[in-house]
Symmetry: C2
Subunit: 308 residues, 2 copies
């Protein structure tokens, strides 16, 4: 548990090179992915990127009724000891699904039919997102080696200079604002990733939603809520004209100040990891500015012990 948090952030790019894959992915009708928090986000991201088969997410103790021999069930938990995920996996096994685990060890390892073991077990789960996501990216051919190399360089760029991220953090911190992140397809789940990073690294409440959904609800509140200046709105830029127009019109008619984040890179894979890492740095700097240890999640650990 001795790796400095900044060092953990620097390790993300190396994780893109992790090569383990799921042995059998073709013979299933559906894919079910169980995971919570920093591990659960992996399933959310995958569900947005892959729609050749129905991908169903579990973020609780229960495995859905439909799971059968025809299901590929993937349990993801960095520690391998998340009780919700273990419970859902046990039920999936009883239903004869083909089960795969992705973890750095723990109870999950060796329990599923295939166990993918993450090399480094000393990271915070949220800092191991690359290790947990790459087996899915590679198994389902969602990125080629050129895109992975380019993404590596983009992450290195952010590691070398996260000054823009720090600027956002300063503006958030100086007036104690609540971050709100609006995602766009296929990065809606990355907006949720940012929310959780603000929660854990910056220890502030934070929220996410996405276009076009928020045009059906938040939009009224964006114009008329009290204390709008207490919020800090991040909006991911979209490559789709329809969505870009929605964003521009929403800003205009509500008067809300949107801080646009442009995902660098050409492929979806590059943009994905660029956005993820950008959010890592904004939340990390916010923690530092608040004089809070970004690594500390002692309360979450304490809770796990108290309910065990």
């Amino acid at each position: 548990m001795a790796i400095d948090f900044r060092e953990q952030l620097l390790l993300l790019k190396e994780q893109l090179l992790f090569k383990d894959t799921i042995r059998d992915i073709d013979s299933f009708d559906n894919i079910v992915i169980a995971g919570m928090g920093g591990s659960g986000i992996v399933g959310k991201i995958f569900q947005e990127l892959y729609s050749e088969k129905p991908v169903y997410l579990v973020d609780d103790y229960k495995c859905p009724t439909f799971v059968s021999r025809k299901s590929l069930f993937i349990a993801i938990s960095y520690s391998g000891n998340t009780e919700e995920t273990i419970s859902a996996l046990a039920q999936a096994k009883a239903k004869r699904a083909y089960t795969v685990s992705i973890s750095a060890g723990g109870k999950l390892s060796g329990y599923a039919e295939q166990s993918i073991k993450i090399p480094n077990s000393e990271l915070q789960p949220r800092c191991a997102i690359g290790y947990m996501l790459m087996p899915l990216i590679r198994s389902f051919s969602l990125a080629n080696s050129q895109e992975i190399t380019k993404a590596y360089k983009l992450l290195m760029g952010l590691d070398d200079d996260s000054g823009e991220c720090e600027k956002h953090a300063k503006r958030i911190c100086s007036s104690s604002r609540i971050p709100v992140i609006y995602g766009v397809s296929p990065f809606k789940s990355v907006a949720y990733r940012w929310k959780t990073q603000f929660n854990e690294n910056g220890k502030v409440l934070a929220y996410s939603s996405s276009f076009p959904e928020l045009n059906h609800n938040d939009t009224m509140a964006l114009a008329e809520t009290y204390d709008r200046d207490r919020f800090y709105f991040f909006v991911f830029e979209s490559g789709e004209e329809k969505i870009s127009k929605r964003i521009a019109v929403t800003a205009r008619i509500t008067g809300a100040e949107f801080n646009m984040i442009e995902p660098k890179g050409t492929s979806t894979f590059e943009k994905l990891f660029y956005l993820i890492h950008y959010g890592d740095y904004v939340s990390y700097h916010l923690g530092l500015l608040r004089k809070i240890d970004p690594a500390d999640v002692s309360l979450i650990q304490r809770l796990k012990k108290m309910i065990a």
Copy 2:
């Protein structure tokens, strides 16, 4: 467009008696439900209640790749003119899915293979949740007539006396707080419904999450965020011991004040509609207290015109 908003709330209980069903539900491998905002919530609720087959939700323009002849595709839009939903339905038709629409008219009506037409076309979409949800509840046998009768009475009780809801609204309004709603299974999506009702009826920003997921992120922020007193936390009571313990421990170790909401009723169906209507009233009263018209969603209408 002349029905008073309070009158619209009173109509919810009558909607439980709506009897139209989907003609064919048995011969499909998966179910895809497309819908946005106040109509989209219907799919979210159904996905929590039904897991005999994979239920996949679409809240954007695109229909997932896997949709085929073996898919039941349900497009839900109260107006029948939601552009995202129409776009996804058109793609589902091209993929030869069996398509069903639920709407009060509009372009959707007559476009799908089966069109379920909602009787009343003068409601706000968010006030027609019963009409849109009941065809799914009945088609998939998720409530019996006794439970429906009991739910009717529970809603009538809230219509007669929403004083408790008003008290919450007063406490929120008097110190300009931001509502945060924490759901529990199988009512996680109802927490999101409350969020959207606060957005539209009360015109305030509001957010939702659920147990146990929030124990992996929000928990740190609940203890250490700045300005925690600016938030007002609603937590739905859970019938499961494990989750109840999580809630109690979370409150204790973070020191956050949780306003517990007990879902009245015995069946899941009763509790579901009780919770929905309770949130209707809290957000409605908040709008009144803020001297804002709860019915008004003119900005959303304006946006739709500007992007058309």
